[in-house]
């Protein structure tokens, strides 16, 4: 059990670090799009590690202590939560960015904006 706990703590530590970076980015960055980068991407990566820690912990108990219904349920549901998180997070970030650009939000400090040129044509 010692090794499993250590692995879980390391994963949770990495996950918390990236979630923290996401929160700092949310306050530091200048506009909608760059904030989306920090708020959706870093937190996804952090959450992947935290969910992986849950999977490692529950799968470890499931494997070591035999048929153990509640741990197997937790392990499988954590895997499904991971898949759902990956799919919905990308789609949600894309939808927010598209809505922002359609309502006229300009990217701050942008070097070039090809989408703006397309809409002006």
């Amino acid at each position: 059990m010692g090794v499993l706990n250590t692995i879980s703590y390391v994963f949770i530590g990495i996950g918390l670090f990236f979630n923290l970076v996401g929160v700092i980015g949310l306050h530091r960055f200048p506009d909608m799009y760059t904030r989306l980068h920090a708020a959706t991407k870093c937190t996804t990566f952090g959450s992947i590690f935290i969910i992986t820690a849950v999977i490692v912990q529950s799968a470890g108990i499931w494997a070591l202590e035999g048929a153990y219904p509640s741990q197997s349920v937790m392990c499988i549901h954590a895997v499904l939560a991971l898949v759902a998180l990956l799919v919905t997070n990308a789609t949600g970030a894309h939808a927010m960015a598209r809505a922002a650009h359609r309502s006229g939000e300009k990217p701050a400090k942008a070097v070039v904006d090809d989408l703006q040129e397309k809409e002006n044509d």
Binding site: V21, R28, F29, T34, K41, F45, L86, A93, P107
Partner: protein, 170 residues
């Protein structure tokens, strides 16, 4: 055929969600029966929506390619995350929205590519041109080299992801 596939997928998802009994293998009898009824209903209702006209995703080689793709994708994601963490802490950003043309032909491969681009930190797909299948990508730290020519080079943004999307879905 599309009814059968939709019902099977719905039933499999139901079975995975309800693991935990012990009467038949890992499930309760009631769960199995209710799941089958719901799967048939879902299949009848959604058979024209879930899969389109072509059945090429039934090929197991494509699913294998998808599983292999997860490894380079996760590596790129980790690398980009560290890069974005560095930019968050130092505040050095150089954002832009660029148009790329990945030369993909169908909707599924374009969806896989757009979601991969969005999940990789530092790049975010904003819009798609449905006629020409071109993507508009918001990029947090633009490489000045891609600004020179107009059909932008997509390699600095998404590396070999378009090739993988083509392998999986075309």
């Amino acid at each position: 055929m599309s009814f059968l596939i939709t019902a099977t997928v719905a039933y499999l998802i139901y079975l995975v969600l309800t693991i935990g009994g012990s009467a038949v293998l890992l499930w309760n009898r009631a769960e199995l029966v209710i799941g089958a009824v719901c799967a048939v209903a879902a299949g009848a209702l959604l058979k024209n929506r879930f899969i389109g006209k072509n059945l090429r995703m039934l090929n197991p080689a494509r699913w294998f390619a998808f599983l292999v793709y997860l490894f380079p994708f996760f590596f790129a994601m980790a690398k980009a995350n560290i890069d974005v963490a560095y930019r968050v802490i130092t505040g050095r950003i150089n954002p832009a929205i660029v148009k790329i043309n990945p030369n993909l032909k169908n909707d599924l491969s374009l969806t896989i590519l757009a979601n991969s681009i969005t999940l990789t930190p530092g790049t975010l797909s904003v819009d798609v041109d449905e006629k020409t299948n071109e993507l508009y990508v918001h990029w947090i730290n633009i490489d000045p080299k891609v600004l020179k020519d107009m059909p932008r080079d997509y390699h600095p943004i998404c590396d070999s992801f378009p090739d993988w999307a083509r392998r999986i879905a075309e």
